[in-house]
């Protein structure tokens, strides 16, 4: 029987650490959710648009020959690149330092559920602010609120091509032409709410796309432009929207609230959570319980989180999941007592060569999942010959240069695994020919790479 603290740290958090105690009960696990809210360094859309407005103005002056403006514009450009690099590390640092990492794991889970990916530096910064403004504030709140914040966030509008979607009969289109773009509408149903297996049609996608016209990010004018909105009403999954007065953001909030409340959405989200936290082959009983919890609570994520943190299936299905490369790298660094501060102090080149590039070789090109469906879950997607080789090679050749500690192997086993190390691992570690090899074996083991 695995003790709850180890279970919680390994399955719900980023692993054990010699620097901090694992959470003793579900209450401590759930407290970490509140602790994963936006911090003082959070980046807002408002600050990004202000920065971009300055940049545009300065570049215009620079073009006209103003040297000082050019230097200032360059400074802002460099600043935004630094902010992006820092944001990436800031999130890793929080995961490294979190005593019970459940909140930070949920940040990753929901950021993956609402995947966006970069482009130029403005879009990458907006991607950071989506996590700070749409995900972190709602981890223990209502899913409908999180979904509305994510779907209407500029990073999402840019990533899923909503910017160019114009109602064919809108005021804008009558003057200047334009048409629908279905991308956001489709993913909103297929990935973000009902799930692809649900009973919906191309007509629902089309109608939702019409309802979403008007959603568009403009640095000065916000996220809604009524002149592009298709005159209503639209019918999505049998419900009519937009038949009262002119098109507005309220119609979009209404359809998102209804999508979030659908029983298919409850089942889709419950299944995704169980697949992510418990098993690639999700126990149906737990999926049903979480779905019921979601529906009965009106989509309250706090209640869903609590049900998950107490699930007996966490113990019954121990180590059925493979740690994704991000999860693996953070857990490895934590097990060796590496701190968030040390990560923030790393030189940019070292961070790239020591963390980001190796993660790409393990199969996870950080910040650039291959599509809006995010990273794959199945263990066999990650534990490939090349993926496993990249993990072993990193543990053996890269990690020792990032962090020059040489813990005594048996102490390290206790710190990294508690009482959960398997007999073969306990047999093998003392037989390594060096401390360095002992750590390589422990970190490369199936025990460590599963959770």
């Amino acid at each position: 029987m695995i003790a709850y603290p180890e279970l919680a740290a390994i399955r719900l958090g980023y692993g054990l650490s010699p620097l901090m105690a694992a959470p003793v009960d579900p209450a401590q696990v759930l407290a970490s959710v509140a602790g994963a809210g936006p911090d003082a360094d959070a980046i807002s859309v408002a600050s990004i648009s202000a920065m971009q407005r300055d940049l545009v103005r300065l570049r215009r002056r620079a073009k006209a020959g103003d040297r000082k403006a050019r230097a200032q514009a360059d400074d802002i450009g460099a600043l935004s690149d630094r902010m992006i690099a820092l944001a990436q590390r800031r999130e890793m640092a929080r995961a490294l330092d979190a005593p019970a990492g459940f909140g930070e794991r949920l940040v990753r889970f929901w950021s993956d559920h609402f995947t966006v990916r970069g482009g130029n530096s403005e879009r990458r910064l907006l991607g950071v602010s989506l996590v700070d403004e749409a995900i972190r504030p709602h981890l223990g709140g209502s899913f409908a609120d999180m979904m509305f914040a994510a779907e209407t966030h500029p990073a999402m509008l840019l990533y899923l091509s909503q910017q160019g979607s114009v109602g064919p009969n809108s005021r804008f289109a009558r003057k200047r032409g334009g048409g629908l773009n279905e991308n956001l509408a489709r993913e909103m149903i297929e990935l973000h709410s009902l799930g692809v297996g649900a009973d919906y049609t191309q007509a629902d996608v089309r109608q939702l796309a019409e309802l979403l016209t008007g959603l568009r990010y403009h640095r000065d004018r916000g996220i809604f432009d009524a002149t592009r909105a298709e005159p209503g009403p639209e019918t999505v999954l049998g419900r009519r929207y937009g038949d009262k007065g002119p098109a507005s953001l309220d119609d979009i909030r209404a359809v998102i609230t209804d999508l979030a409340a659908r029983p298919e959405t409850a089942r889709h989200l419950a299944r995704k959570l169980v697949v992510h936290f418990v098993s690639d082959d999700p126990p149906q009983g737990l999926v049903d319980r979480l779905a019921a919890t979601y529906s009965e609570s009106g989509g309250d994520l706090a209640v869903v989180n609590a049900a998950l943190a107490q699930a007996p299936e966490l113990a019954a299905r121990f180590r059925e999941k493979a740690r994704q490369p991000y999860d693996f790298v953070i857990a490895a660094l934590r097990s060796l007592g590496f701190t968030g501060r040390q990560l923030l102090d790393m030189k940019p080149g070292v961070f790239q060569r020591g963390i980001i590039r190796p993660m790409a070789l393990m199969g996870q090109n950080w910040g650039a999942p291959r599509g809006p469906d995010g990273w794959p879950e199945a263990a066999h997607s990650w534990i490939t010959p090349q993926g496993l080789a990249a993990r072993i090679h990193w543990s053996a050749q890269v990690l020792p240069r990032l962090h020059r500690v040489r813990p005594e192997p048996r102490e390290f086993l206790a710190a990294a695994f508690g009482d959960t190390a398997s007999e073969p691992l306990k047999w093998a570690v003392p037989r390594a020919e060096s401390v360095r090899d002992a750590i390589v074996i422990a970190l490369s083991s199936a025990d460590f790479n599963r959770r």
Binding site: S165, R357, I383, T384, A390, I392, A432, E433, D437, S444
Partner: protein, 392 residues
């Protein structure tokens, strides 16, 4: 060992059918998979075939598209007076002229109407119909080919890159590697790791493969993080393997989901695809003459340009074929036309034939796999119909 048993069983099946068709026996009973080579490239994200091979001879194209796919006037290379090659695929023009490049303009898997990339790719790689839920389709069709290929060994097929390729996953052993990855550990650590992985089949299999491949000193290409160079590195690695015992290689190229500003986004993807094909040709040397490359995508895109200078998810798509073994320099299969009534659901290019039929005929002609095996096992319930004669 289920894979070996399965292999013996399928070898027996082939034996029977070959006995019934004696004219095939000499190739069927060969103890090695022969000298022909197949490369399957999955273009993830749904390539706009109407932009790759632009049907500028169809008068409707102009009405559907205003900023993309406008033919030779905008720098595309005329191929046959009707179709033109996208400007960024221009480096492939000599292949077209040499009969080493062809395309099937309107093909699809059996997947319809929901237009999800992920289901579409799963079905393309599974090679099955739509009767199974996409998530339940574990085997890929290249793996089922291997299961039925006389003399196939694990080295016969390679999937390449840091991403898993479902098209090759299944019970027949195959190799998988990313040329950028290295593995350097002490012999003692290697020994101990092999021991602790013994109880975990997933880790055991991956580690044994990794140790074997890493020991071969493949002079790995430096991963640069730059898509263009990494893609060419993958093609180089594929060619090096194919020049030895490997006969089937598969990998994917991302970057085709062109919902907006297509002219800009697809240009890079086309350049990358062209670079990959040219790298294969150069590095395969004399073996290029025995090579067939099939580049497939999950579905096509809308015939009409959308509001953002891009295209949305569609149905009929285009397959690109290349290689010294093919009878190219031509369009293969039928062209449905772009008139309002010709489109699928009034919006997408009409698929004229199942993409699996082309792959099946290529496998029959390359590896002498009996038609019955292809229609029942590799692509269950497929009707291959007549041979499109991709190969020369």
């Amino acid at each position: 060992m289920p894979s070996r048993r399965l292999f013996l069983k399928s070898a027996a099946v082939i034996g029977c059918s070959a006995a019934a068709h004696p004219w095939m026996s000499s190739m069927t009973f060969a103890s090695t998979p022969g000298e022909n080579r197949l490369v399957v490239i999955i273009l993830r994200g749904a390539m706009d075939g109407l932009d790759a091979f632009q049907p500028y001879g169809d008068a409707n194209l102009r009405g559907l598209r205003s900023s993309i796919s406008i033919g030779p006037e905008q720098g595309a290379h005329d191929l046959d007076g009707y179709f033109a090659l996208h400007p960024s695929l221009g480096t492939l023009l000599p292949l077209w002229k040499a009969g080493e490049l062809a395309f099937a303009p309107a093909v699809s898997t059996p997947y319809r109407d929901k237009r999800s990339h992920f289901d579409g790719q799963d079905i393309l790689e599974a090679g099955t119909g739509t009767d199974l839920a996409p998530g339940d389709q574990r085997d890929g069709w290249l793996n089922r080919l291997l299961q039925n290929m006389p003399g196939a060994q694990s080295r016969t097929a390679y999937s390449i890159g840091t991403e898993e390729m479902r098209i090759l996953s299944g019970s027949a052993p195959a190799k998988s590697w990313a040329p950028q990855v290295r593995l350097r550990i002490s012999p003692q650590a290697e020994l101990l790791l092999r021991r602790i992985y013994e109880d975990d089949p997933l880790f055991h299999a991956a580690a044994e493969e990794a140790i074997e491949i890493a020991a071969e000193d493949l002079t790995p290409a430096q991963g640069t993080g730059r898509p263009q160079r990494d893609a060419s590195g993958i093609a180089s690695f594929a060619a090096a393997r194919l020049n030895e015992e490997t006969r089937i290689a598969t990998f994917s190229l991302p970057g085709w989901d062109s919902h907006a500003s297509q002219a800009r986004t697809l240009g890079r993807a086309f350049e990358r695809l062209a670079a990959v094909i040219l790298t294969l040709k150069t590095d395969l040397g004399r073996n290029w003459a025995r090579t067939t490359v099939l580049a497939m995508t999950e579905f096509g895109r809308t015939a009409r340009e959308n509001g953002s200078g891009g295209t949305d998810h569609g149905t009929g798509g285009t397959m690109l074929m290349a290689g010294g073994a093919i009878r190219g320099g031509r369009m293969i299969g039928a062209w449905p036309g772009l008139a309002e009534g010709d489109l699928y659901a009034g919006r997408d290019l009409m698929p004229m034939r199942d993409i699996r039929a082309y792959a099946a005929w290529a496998m029959r002609d390359l590896f002498a796999i009996p038609r019955d095996t292809l229609e029942r096992v590799v692509f269950p319930d497929l009707d291959m119909a007549e041979n499109p004669r991709i190969l020369a």
